[in-house]
């Protein structure tokens, strides 16, 4: 088994390398005016003027988008800590790795074909290959963001592509085999995330705001459907397919300060996630920054409040969870709703998610270990729909009005977009998981689960001599 997998990997690496060398050879032959950039001011100004943007405008917007992109980047390590703190000590490394390794895997996938599928043109369902190996992606701006290098837009979107499959990993924590996880994630990113991103954000996506010929134009400012609904529902499917953890009853978070660190990094990075989704520096970006913060704040308080009522004590884990579901819920509407609407959305999402994770989950009996579905699926769905209620063109003239502003149609569109995305994710996740199951075992053996994922999947102990003052080895 191990042997077979190693051979598979070897093959994979070999193919990747060949591909790289091939791509490299092609690249070498052609001149790449797109990638041309200059250090001197004159050259820069001339170059940018040529592409129709004043250099100075681009400098500012590029600085802003750079900051936003690195902020989104740090969310994935943030998630590693948010999730890692919530599992048992013996599973912390595997849980963190499930986020961390995707920074590597998806980067490569995105470079070679992921970006092309998601943001290439080609049709309403997915893009085709014009950006394979980032060919044609250079310093000149793209159709998506007219004042920043195309490369920067592609990197910004990469960070979204990384965190989305990482979010799923909360559902199957503490029991999925690492090799199966890797295989699943690459396939899921390619067959689920990239297409959905194309549908919603591609210039020719079939429900894209940018596509005048779209079947309908769904509002998704920063990824309510693309990121949260897709991953949340995938998590539900995986939790059901993999089954419950053996020792579910004794599972409690092993390091809540890590959870808090993770939540703080997520909140921090989310300013880039939602703010940067304006794709340029300015009022709209800052508006999204504002609504993002206010929704997170309101949801933190309302989660605490629900707990205070229900159990007599507001927990820190609860506050951190509240912050995250607030951020999830405001994501689709961040650039479309008013700050007061953001407070309302935030205040309402926590009770809903609390109900999902503390009642629904136990009632229905699926073991969504870290509540990927309960937080991202439920919160994302709620946010998508609320965007259809509260969106207003006074905030963003390039958006739509929602139900409360006299446009009930948008409400239905949001409902449709959310449902279709969820359904697509559910079906595809099921099929991918079945396929993965044909190649490798998806769940670790019971005794490996008992001994812990860190030792059995990675041959490591997170804190080997923590409980004493020397190495007990």
């Amino acid at each position: 088994m191990k042997r077979k997998f190693s051979i598979g990997l070897l093959l994979f690496l070999f193919i990747c390398m060949s591909f790289s060398f091939a791509a490299f050879a092609t690249e070498k032959g052609t001149s790449l005016p797109d990638t041309f950039t200059a250090q001197s001011d004159e050259a820069k100004i001339a170059f940018r003027d040529a592409v129709g943007v004043t250099s100075a405008q681009s400098a500012g917007d590029t600085a802003f988008m750079f900051a936003s992109t690195v902020l989104v980047f740090i969310m994935t390590p943030g998630l590693a800590f948010f999730y890692g703190g919530m599992v048992r000590r013996k599973n912390v490394l595997n849980t963190m790795m499930n986020s961390f390794v995707l920074m590597a895997v998806i980067s490569i996938q995105w470079l070679f074909f992921g970006y092309s599928i998601a943001f290439g043109t080609g049709g309403p369902l997915f893009g085709v290959g014009q950006y394979l190996g980032f060919s044609g992606v250079g310093a000149a701006p793209s159709v998506y963001a007219g004042t920043v290098p195309h490369t920067l837009f592609a990197l910004f979107q990469l960070m979204f592509a990384i965190i989305t499959p990482a979010l799923i990993s909360g559902a199957f924590a503490e029991r999925m085999k690492f090799s199966a996880f890797l295989l699943f994630s690459v396939l899921w990113a390619t067959l689920v995330y990239d297409p959905i991103a194309h549908w919603v954000w591609g210039v020719d996506g079939w429900m894209s705001l940018l596509n005048p010929n779209a079947a309908f134009q769904a509002l998704d400012f920063a990824g309510g459907t693309v990121v949260h609904i897709s991953s949340g529902f995938a998590g539900l499917v995986l939790a059901l397919m993999l089954g419950k953890r053996k020792e579910k009853s004794t599972a409690i978070p092993h390091n809540i300060p890590f959870v808090l660190l993770g939540a703080a990094l997520l909140w921090f990075g989310w300013f880039g996630f939602n703010g940067g989704s304006a794709l340029s520096s300015g009022g709209l970006a800052i508006h999204a920054f504002l609504t993002t913060n206010m929704a997170a704040a309101a949801a933190t308080l309302s989660w605490m409040f629900v707990e205070w009522i229900k159990t007599g004590k507001p927990t820190v884990l609860g506050a951190a969870t509240g912050a995250v579901v607030g951020l999830v819920a405001i994501t689709p509407g961040a650039g479309f709703v008013t700050p007061v609407a953001a407070v309302i959305i935030g205040a309402l999402v926590s009770p809903l998610c609390y109900f999902a994770v503390s009642y629904l989950k136990h009632k229905l009996g699926y073991d969504d270990a870290l509540d990927a579905f309960g937080c991202h699926g439920v919160g994302g769905f709620f946010g998508a729909v609320m965007t259809g209620v509260f969106a207003t063109t006074t905030v963003n003239p390039f958006g739509k009005d929602g139900l409360l502003y006299g446009n009930p149609e948008q409400f239905l569109i949001q409902l449709a977009a959310a449902s279709i995305t969820a359904a697509f994710s559910v079906v595809m996740t099921f099929l991918i998981m079945k396929a993965v199951g044909l190649v490798v075992k998806t769940r670790v053996a019971e005794k490996d689960e008992m001994q812990g994922m860190d030792i059995t999947q990675h041959g490591e102990d997170a804190y080997p001599d923590f409980s004493s003052d020397q190495s007990i080895a």
Binding site: E247, S249, T250, M450, Q451, I455, G459, E460, D461, P464, S467, I472, A473
Partner: protein
Amino acid sequence: MKMVIAIIRPESLDNVKQALFNAEIHKMTVSPVRGCGQQKGYTENYRGSIKTINLLPKIRIEIVVNDSFVKPTIDAIISSARSGNIGDGKIFVMPVEEVYRIRTGETGSEAIG
């Protein structure tokens, strides 16, 4: 009076506690330890240096009981901690000469419970 010391698997602790409670044994002192025995260890890898770990995580339970309770205590532990695989652990019974309850200063059998 005897002290019953049981070394068990970490994952059995909940079961063992329950079994003891069912047998009306409510008092115990527990600590995390590492044990080495027939059970095979595993290897860890840190940047290419391989370490063999043969001290595995175990739980140590210490229970002081009156003589008549020794048997039920041991039965409760064995039945709840046995998985049948190597590494289930041991029970040691040792003599105790005196027991004091700090709160009251009581001694002997009364102090135990």
